[in-house]
């Protein structure tokens, strides 16, 4: 009974630490999670990630802006760093790795960084190439890391065409890799025409998609858990 109560309290504290972008509180609560022997997966998904879902809602409602989002992410990372080594099996069946970057000639990376954060949260291994990334570098990095997914971001109509070159090149060198593209000038039509596998529309929708992704991850995990019992 007391243990249950403590667990509830800790989840609430983790959640709030993320929402209130309080790194120290996130660290402290995460350490306590380990001290009381609570399940790290539970703490991550029902505490930290649950907080991030609320942050996504606040961002959509324009109560939070990009700086708040970045700081919430830092609080989440602070907790994640402590909890991750204690996660028993993060293998949720969909765990993967992703190469992400903003294409050559383009320095707009705010959106890319937000998308990247979502993958981090979902437990992906992320290889972030940064911004203004030479087109060959994406292919090189995918082959080097054997990542499941390559994510390309572009914010200008001219740099956007660089994505097509990367897609074509990737397809010939590694037909199995999944490719997702995004950024303001990109559309579902373009993504389809160029042969990308995925696309997310704008700041809010990308966030929603990422959150859906996390939610479905959570569901998968819950199902896996239920089967175990």
């Amino acid at each position: 009974m007391a243990a249950d109560e403590k667990k509830k309290e800790l989840l609430e504290r983790l959640r709030n630490a993320v929402i209130q972008y309080d790194e120290d509180a996130a660290k402290e609560a995460s350490r306590e999670v380990l001290d009381v022997g609570m399940d790290a997966n539970d703490a991550i998904f029902n505490g930290l990630v649950s907080g991030m879902e609320e942050v996504g809602r606040l961002f959509e409602a324009q109560e939070y802006f990009v700086p708040e989002l970045l700081m919430c992410a830092d609080a989440l990372y602070a907790g994640l760093d402590i909890l991750k080594p204690h996660v028993k099996q993060l293998d949720l069946g969909v765990r993967g790795s992703v190469v992400i970057g903003t294409v050559e000639g383009d320095v707009h990376d705010i959106g890319k960084n937000i998308v990247k954060m979502m993958f981090d949260v979902a437990g992906f291994t992320v290889y972030d190439l940064g911004r203004d990334v030479p087109l060959d570098k994406f292919v090189e990095e995918q082959l080097r890391t054997d990542s499941d997914l390559v994510c390309l971001s572009a914010m200008m109509t001219t740099t956007m065409t660089g994505m097509k070159k990367v897609i074509d090149d990737l397809r010939t060198k590694n037909p199995n890799v999944k490719i997702m593209i995004g950024g303001a000038p990109v559309s579902a039509d373009i993504a389809e025409k160029w042969g990308a596998d995925g696309y997310a529309k704008d700041a809010n929708n990308a966030l929603k998609d990422a959150i859906n992704m996390i939610s479905s991850l959570k569901k998968l995990k819950e199902e896996a858990e239920a089967r175990k019992k």
Binding site: F65, P67, E68, V107, D132, T157, T158, T161
Partner: protein, 344 residues
């Protein structure tokens, strides 16, 4: 002189002076070089950033070919950052239309934020080159149209010389530290603007697009950024415009309070509402989408958009950002025609 024979320059200068004009002018304070213009000269985009004559020639073509009512240099956002010591990349090897970017930032971590201006700062980098281009344009087309330039706002400039993610977070965590940097950059911006004024510009735009309401809350804008913008506008001597993009409806009063003569907003602003808020005399420039309407739209769509801008009450028909170079000749001509025949 009768009101109907005003030159573009007279019309725009009268507008800035608060006098009555026959119709809204159609111009910009941001980059408006076109691929058509570059083609007519046989210039490469990448080369136009590094040569005063090429820059001036290229910038003038938007007036010469289409009657666009101004001449504006430069085309990129790296002039101040370069003069402060950042390395830039103009993608000289590329045939594509790539805009110069900052290759190496000046500040890499929080404790490097206390910088000082390099000595002789106002003569560094491409500042003299832009001044020379301004002089050339004045001689060439300066009798017909006003010659303008732009500088970055302090926050946007800070985002050029340090990691934007860090800047955004520090705006919350260490506003004093950020404020100190913005104060220094405000001084730097006034110095650069001073050089451009000496070179003979007729108006200047301060572009604070890094503080767009798509990224930053109105509260942070008001508390952290507006004070330094005020410092800048206080010290400018030519007519000035403050440009901020994104959903700016909540901050238009703050924008006006900075002391800018005019404010510039993009397609995400509801100008009819801004007009109501700011009153009939406020100078509001805007607010068509320079890519989705002017480049990707049909002439019909261009017409409707220009009409809507004017019906909503813009003081000048003006793009939401740089005119995107690949604009089709027909669309830009359609825009000019639509504005010229409009009567309120």
């Amino acid at each position: 002189m009768s009101i109907t024979t005003m030159t573009a320059k007279e019309r725009i200068m009268k507008l800035f002076a608060g006098e009555e004009v026959d119709r809204p002018p159609c111009f910009s304070g941001m980059g408006n070089v076109t691929t058509e213009g570059l083609k007519s000269l046989g210039y490469k985009f990448a080369a136009s950033h590094l040569d005063a004559k090429m820059m001036a020639d290229a910038a003038s073509t938007t007036y010469k070919l289409f009657g666009f009512e101004c001449g504006v240099v430069p085309f990129d956002l790296c002039v101040e950052a370069e003069a402060l010591g950042c390395e830039i990349n103009v993608y000289a090897h590329s045939e594509d239309l790539l805009y110069p970017t900052i290759k190496k930032k000046l500040i890499h971590k929080e404790d490097e934020m206390e910088i000082s201006l390099p000595s002789g700062f106002q003569e560094k980098g491409r500042i003299p080159l832009v001044c020379e281009a301004i002089g050339l344009m004045k001689k060439d087309i300066g009798g017909d149209v006003p010659i303008g330039t732009y500088v970055l706002g302090p926050f946007t400039l800070a985002g050029q010389i340090m990691e934007l993610n860090d800047l955004l977070k520090l705006s919350f965590k260490k506003p004093d530290k950020v404020g100190k940097l913005l104060a220094l950059l405000a001084d730097a911006i006034v110095m650069v603007a001073g050089q451009f004024q000496k070179a003979g510009i007729d108006y200047i735009t301060v572009r604070e697009m890094g503080a767009t309401s798509d990224v930053l809350s109105p509260r942070v804008f008001k508390n952290l950024i507006q004070p330094y913008l005020k410092k800048i506008f206080d010290r400018l001597t030519v007519p000035s415009v403050l440009h901020i993009c994104g959903k700016t409806n909540d901050i238009v009063p703050f924008m006006m309070e900075t002391g800018a003569k005019a404010i510039s907003v993009d397609q995400k602003n509801d100008v009819a509402e801004s007009r109501k808020k700011l009153g009939k005399d406020a100078l509001i420039f805007g607010n068509y989408d320079p890519y989705n309407v002017l480049v990707a739209g049909t002439p019909e769509m261009v017409k409707e958009t220009m009409k809507k801008c004017m019906d909503d009450g813009v003081s000048a028909v003006w793009p939401g950002c740089d005119i995107w170079p690949t604009v089709p000749a027909e669309n830009i001509r359609t825009m000019m025609d639509e504005v010229k025949k409009y009567r309120r």
